[in-house]
């Protein structure tokens, strides 16, 4: 038995929700500790670095705003991969993953919108402008809420799974639009300054706290996501046990 098939077997082992619960119970505390440590370091760095000479103290909003915005897009990407998993591979956990990610993604998007709004008021003189970046992120937020509403509207998880998977994949079109909106259209929002082909244009003074915060947010996302997936699995088990209880009740009477 070679390496490769072992890896495949490990992956399909994960498909079993019980295995997933066992494994995630081991991993989850470590992830939680790691995200707490990273967040602590990141926040410490964010508040000890010097302020920008133009923006003053408000620049510190960036350390929350930018990672939250990245995560809002990454979360949707995770959901899109899960949706593929549901439709193509019929992976039993894919639907659980997509469903659990939606509220987390909505929270990160809301955080990005709110912090951006707080930053925009002193910088641009207004809470909100309808430029391409802001608008497309807002549309992303609406899509998250729509997906949550769709999941809530259907009480049969099996039926909801395919419908929301299709919707997620259709909505994935929005992600590249958000990413490149600042380059395609001339907007008020500044263009990307970290992830660039010709290297970051941002000063290292700001780059380090930002990168640590981004790492912290990413680990935080996976911590929350795995915890939410566990909840979702338990919730489905409770539901099926309740149905079982309803079927067996009164039969002996």
């Amino acid at each position: 038995m070679n390496e490769n098939s072992l890896a495949i077997r490990k992956f399909s082992d994960l498909a079993n929700p019980t295995r997933f619960l066992g494994l995630s119970a081991l991993v989850l505390p470590w992830l939680a500790v790691l995200s707490a440590v990273l967040l602590a370091i990141g926040l410490y760095l964010s508040f000890t670095t010097e302020g920008d000479y133009q923006q003053g103290e408000t620049v510190r909003i960036m350390y929350v705003h930018v990672p939250a915005a990245w995560l809002s897009m990454m979360c949707y990407t995770v959901m899109a991969i899960s949706a593929l998993g549901t439709l193509v591979w019929r992976h039993p956990l894919a639907d659980v993953a997509a469903r659990a990610a939606a509220p987390i993604g909505a929270s990160f998007t809301l955080l990005a919108l709110v912090t951006g709004s707080l930053w925009g008021k002193p910088m641009w003189g207004t809470w909100w402008v309808w430029d391409a970046r802001l608008t497309s992120v807002f549309v992303l937020f609406l899509m998250y809420l729509g997906l949550i509403a769709l999941n809530r509207a259907m009480d049969e998880p099996g039926k909801a799974a395919k419908a929301s998977a299709v919707l997620i994949l259709v909505g994935f079109v929005n992600i590249p639009i958000i990413k490149f909106s600042v380059e395609w259209w001339n907007t008020l929002h500044q263009p990307a300054s970290v992830l660039r082909l010709d290297g970051p244009t941002i000063d290292p003074e700001f780059l380090w706290p930002l990168l640590v915060m981004a790492a912290a947010f990413t680990v935080l996302f996976f911590t929350l996501h795995i915890a939410a997936m566990r909840n979702e699995i338990w919730r489905r088990r409770v539901t099926s046990m309740r149905r079982q209880a309803a079927r067996s009740a009164g039969r002996e009477a």
């Binding site: 009480d155 309740r242 149905r243 209880a245 309803a246 079927r247 009740a249 009164g250 009477a253």
Partner: protein, 214 residues
């Protein structure tokens, strides 16, 4: 004074069609009548007229000896129609608690508690589940528990035992007998024998061919 349900010369139509004509009967406390007849003979219409949900064409439905001032006889009636009047999204307890508090008790009687009612229909232990999780037969039995949580002297039952198995049939017959023994009145439309001592009102399916009380 025990109550009497007096029906005199009752006729009803649905749309333009005359459904039945000139039905009269009197039920005293403790009596039951089973309305029989082929499909479309007007059994359900009769019950809905008695429940005050349809206008009468002529004739009267009267309640004599009502314990308190009432506006219409329907206020002292339970109506169990084809549909269960329960919400799928709410738990059984929430459903029953709502009807118990919304309907209240008629004078001279008390509804039983929710747990007691659920136990009386033989489904103790699943009242915390959403109503939608239950099977059709269980839902019907829970709808019957509704008859017990709020007291009404008169029960109008439309095909009460349709989705029920034999044991639930017997259980329901027991509940009906208890209600009659306590001075209640039951009007039930059904194809199957109800399993209680009752008069029979045979609907012939066409108006004016003399509905008769056997």
């Amino acid at each position: 004074m025990p109550i009497r349900l007096v029906v005199e010369g009752l006729s009803a139509q649905r749309g333009e069609d005359l459904i039945f004509h000139d039905i009269s009967f009197v039920l005293s406390a403790g009596q039951a009548v089973v309305v029989t007849g082929p499909n479309g003979s007007g059994k359900s219409t009769l019950l809905r007229v008695l429940a005050g949900l349809l206008e009468t064409l002529s004739g009267t439905v009267r309640l004599e000896g009502a314990p308190a001032e009432i506006g219409h006889p329907r206020e002292l009636c339970h109506y169990l129609g084809h549909r269960n009047a329960m919400k799928r999204e709410l738990t059984v307890t929430e459903n029953l608690a709502f009807w118990k508090s919304f309907m209240g008790d008629s004078a001279n009687g008390h509804g039983v508690g929710i747990e007691a009612a659920v136990e009386a229909v033989g489904l103790a232990g699943i009242s915390h589940l959403p109503f939608g999780y239950l099977s059709a037969g269980q839902q019907r039995r829970m709808a019957m528990a509704k008859l017990l949580v709020a007291y009404r002297p008169i029960w109008l039952l439309d095909e009460p035992t349709a989705a029920l198995d034999a044991s639930a049939d017997r259980l329901f017959a027991g509940l009906t007998t208890q209600h009659l023994a306590a001075g209640g009145i039951v009007v039930a439309a059904t194809h199957q024998p109800l399993g209680v001592e009752a008069m029979e009102l045979r609907m012939t399916g066409f108006a004016s061919v003399g509905e008769e009380l056997i």
